[in-house]
Symmetry: C2
Subunit: 332 residues, 2 copies
């Protein structure tokens, strides 16, 4: 491939001049500029970003490590990140941690080696030594969706507590009393927060929180299904199952469907996290919607502040309850 040196020779100027043209330096004659552009075109010159990055110590690249690429929540998050980064002239490298700490660490390592200018992480579990060290190095970093307590890292997340309280009130108003929560893992901040918010909401509503109605899954389809099976096998099964994320909801629907039970007649269903197809399920699923893409965009803005050397404030965006028909009164 043509190098800057070739372009310089072809245009009869020095490499410095070509570099100036490349970087829109105003101190180049229009005539020279034109000659250089012509030479570039003729030689099909494509600047080498690797060489440039080595010299400038900036790659104009951001790293994004998501929890699970098959989860539409993270896909939409990635979309928001992509959009905002693209607008600011950055490229995004997405790593899929597959909800495993070792995969997450693999990507942290790779992305640091690649010298990304900043890192967006949806931390997979409790802090790993590598992430801890990453924080210490002071490299621009933002936690997205999830946080890790004890680490001073700006973050962007959704607050579901208000919406969860509304949901519980909604369920109560429809005559439901026995409400189960199929939560995410307690190792994730989102898992814990939703569980706590649910417990608080139940208390506020004056409803019993039974131990056997609380089960922790892993934010994936399989655990949603398994938990649903266990709950439905209880001597006194719950009237409602509230799932901690959209994939667990999907698993739960599988199990309910497989047993030939009807929603909400036999068991009502609600989901934390909304996805497009919930309106097409029979009945449409009541869900708590997060401002997902907006979370991604916000996180990029926050991260770029860090890249610019300014420190930013964590952001919490509100989630909201979307009532559909999957939680109506029994027999209604």
């Amino acid at each position: 491939m043509a190098r800057i040196k070739d372009v310089a020779a072809h245009a009869g100027v020095s490499v410095a001049t070509v570099s100036r043209v490349l970087n829109d330096n105003p101190s180049v004659t229009e005539e020279t500029r034109d000659r250089v552009y012509a030479a570039m075109k003729e030689l099909r010159y494509v600047p080498n970003a690797v060489a440039r990055s080595l010299r400038t110590e900036a790659t104009r690249t951001l790293g994004l490590i998501i929890g699970d690429i098959l989860n539409p929540f993270f896909t939409e998050l990635a979309r928001g990140v992509e959009d905002e980064a693209r607008q600011a002239g950055y490229t995004v490298i997405i790593g899929n941690a597959d909800e495993r700490a070792e995969e997450q660490d693999h990507y942290v390592r790779t992305l640091v080696e690649q010298r990304v200018d900043g890192l967006l992480i949806c931390p997979t579990a409790e802090v790993t030594p590598l992430v801890e060290e990453l924080v210490r190095t002071g490299r621009p970093l933002v936690f997205l969706d999830r946080t890790i307590s004890g680490l001073d890292v700006p973050s962007v997340r959704a607050d579901g507590a208000t919406a969860i309280a509304e949901l519980v009130a909604h369920l109560k108003s429809r005559g439901h009393r026995r409400i189960a929560f199929a939560s995410g893992p307690a190792t994730l901040s989102t898992g814990r927060e939703r569980t706590e918010a649910f417990a608080a909401a139940m208390a506020e509503a004056g409803l019993d929180l039974r131990a056997e109605y609380m089960a922790a899954g892993d934010f994936r389809e399989g655990s949603g299904r398994a938990i649903t099976a266990r709950l439905l096998d209880l001597p006194e099964p719950p009237e409602v199952i509230f799932f901690g994320d959209n994939l667990m909801t999907l698993g739960g629907l599988d199990e309910i469907r497989a047993r030939g039970l009807s929603i909400p007649g036999d068991v009502a269903v609600a989901s934390f996290d909304d996805v497009t197809w919930f309106v097409h399920v029979d009945p449409p699923i009541t869900a708590i919607a997060q401002p997902t893409a907006e979370m991604g965009r916000t996180a990029v803005r926050l991260l770029l502040q860090g890249v610019a050397g300014r420190s930013g404030q964590s952001v919490v965006l509100p989630a909201e309850l979307v009532v559909r028909r999957s939680c109506e009164r029994k027999g209604a």
Copy 2:
């Protein structure tokens, strides 16, 4: 950050030796190796992939340009690509073309600047000058899902013709005669191929192909909805609408639902491309499933052959019909 020079000084060896340790060169004493590792650890040394790439002219990075990041088909494709690339020690940079040629070109440019070792493209439309030039340069390239005729580029795609013929036969066996096809854009190979296969299948089944039942969309939700509205407003609306991809199906379902019509009673629905939630729709949607993740994995293998200098053969994987309940006989 610590450089190789610092590690060398700290361990009391030359940079060459450190580099050899880094690259598992066997001609380093175990004792020296240990000293170097200790120095790396102490200095928290992370090799600079940018510098390495500049020297070795290889980035161990692949570029993937997908059509639309919100389309679960491409997400799953990306997942397959990710998995296989990761196993081979490559990092993937994903670019979202958002079904626009200019966005696609933007990513082609960026990825070539970044000197990715190979490029996987789901070409957005007819060939652009940039893509044409890319092909001429001989850089390792594989087309994924879609192809561009006239360009000699290895590709990986699914063959839907057989499955489409089966689908039409299935529809006929259920008593359907007036079948509409909401296809993708004729500018995409997948749009054209599915349309042709559908036409051929209808002919083979001895069914009429009415012009007003053939409409081209853009593989996105909105066009699926608009086409459905148009079809249902026809003096003699079709008995079945077959959608060209999962997002257009989603849009179609929206419209049908909004009109309060029942499936398959008022109109039957089938989809090219299957997604997880189709089983939860009422009724579950009959669809043609592509081996999506496998396509992604295969494409990476093919691309890596190109990277290694060997030229590979295009691959066509079979799609298959999954019969559910959305196309049963009227009133059945």
